[in-house]
Amino acid sequence: MGLFGQGVLEALRLLVTGDPEVWQITWLSIQVSATATLLSLLVGIPVGALLALSRFPGRAFVVSLVNTGMGLPPVVVGLFVTILLWRNGALGFLELLYTPTAMVTGQLVIAAPIVTGLTLAAVQQVPEAFRLQLLGLGASRPQMIWVLLKEARLPMLAAVMAGFGGVISEVGASMMLGGNIKGSTRVLTTATVLETGKGNFDVAIALSVILLLITFLVNWALSVIQQRRRG
């Protein structure tokens, strides 16, 4: 059997036997990335909606900034946030470097533009006539935005999926901000890099399979919601 087969078997073995370290790593990955995604929704949805509905000079510039942010390289985010969080850095007094909170921060910076950009696109695609009709029926502006967001909630699930997918799979920022510390900041991606470096390719493949499994399950659940509501 090939190395890949061995890795898949190893993944099953680790999950079934309930290897405590693997479970801990897996749980931390989910915790960190889910927190970052949820926080990015809190930032991205309002900002994206406002951007979609407002007209101001320089708006095109801001929108292109957001779109650039959707492709922020995690390693660059990792480096910049690390320097901020260094003991000598601007935010050093918080003593956050090499903690899960630092990883959440980095992942938030990565996910927020993705959610913002996709929300922007989702809200913008609601026909303008619908918006005017709402206002015409006497809706206040916040009420109108809320109805629009509800209208756009299915495409916005795509934003959640893209945000979560982006952060749970990134390694650059997590490695730098967390430090891949055993029992404290080791997540699936950084553990995969470590095990590859150690030459434990089967374990590395096993961790990758677990990562793929999580990404699949999350996307599957969200897709079910998305498609059901549509139908």
């Binding site: 000598n88 956050l96 916040p142 430090g179 510390i181 150690k198």
Partner: protein, 279 residues
Amino acid sequence: MSRFLGIVWLLAGALLLGAGSHAEAQSNVVLLSTTTSTQDSGLLDVLVPMFEKQSGLSVKTISVGTGQALALAARGEADVTLAHAPGLEKKYVEDGKMSNRRLVMYNDFVLIGPTDDPAQIKGLPKAVDALKRIAESQSRFVSRGDRSGTHVLEQGLWKQAGLEPRGAWYIESGQGMGQTLGIANDRRAYTLTDRGTYLAFQKRVDLPILVEKDRLLLNIYSVMEVNPANGPRVNVAGGKAFAEFMLAPETQAVIKAFGVDKYGQPLFVPVAGKKDEDL
């Protein structure tokens, strides 16, 4: 309006609390900057829990290349450093960034390469001569190229050979020892590796050892404390405690036995109390 957002806030708060509970009061934390080889060999997985149990402190191990480990410490971003590049370390000590450099252990580097040995270096007693032949025959050589301890030593050897390696035959991987071994194996190239990582990769790399046991190939690990003037919040006492721990007789005994069960031979020789000249 707020039901959905309320749920989101609630979930975010709960998860943040959960993630936050992993954080500890940093005054009890010792930041150890060290090299990938100590981590990849598994030695620190044994020593760190031992130290944490004895001292009640908790250690955060940042394992990076030796160059970065020292650079971080020099900026006050670590409390203690375990590295393996004596020349570079001494420079940091001279500059006053690091202090109390003491030897902990050593193992050795070996030159490995393809069985057909195109540069004819097998059995040469001097690593420098071997590198000269590799350069002359333009045989492929994979360098770490990452300012790690291994890379620093390799550069020292080239310097002694009076050569500046350049050209298509000289491949800089920019990666850890494990990945570099993989590249060397794949390209049928020569490379310099520490014996520990080589033993760990024995099954996956079929490049035999061609040059070994040269005095210049000693791989010496030292522990250094960080000058508190390097930055605020350096945990001086914690760093010192870890340095003392590395040199304690019990720890040295653990180092001496490490790896015997897995590789049939120890990976490191403990040398606490000795000086560079003694080796």
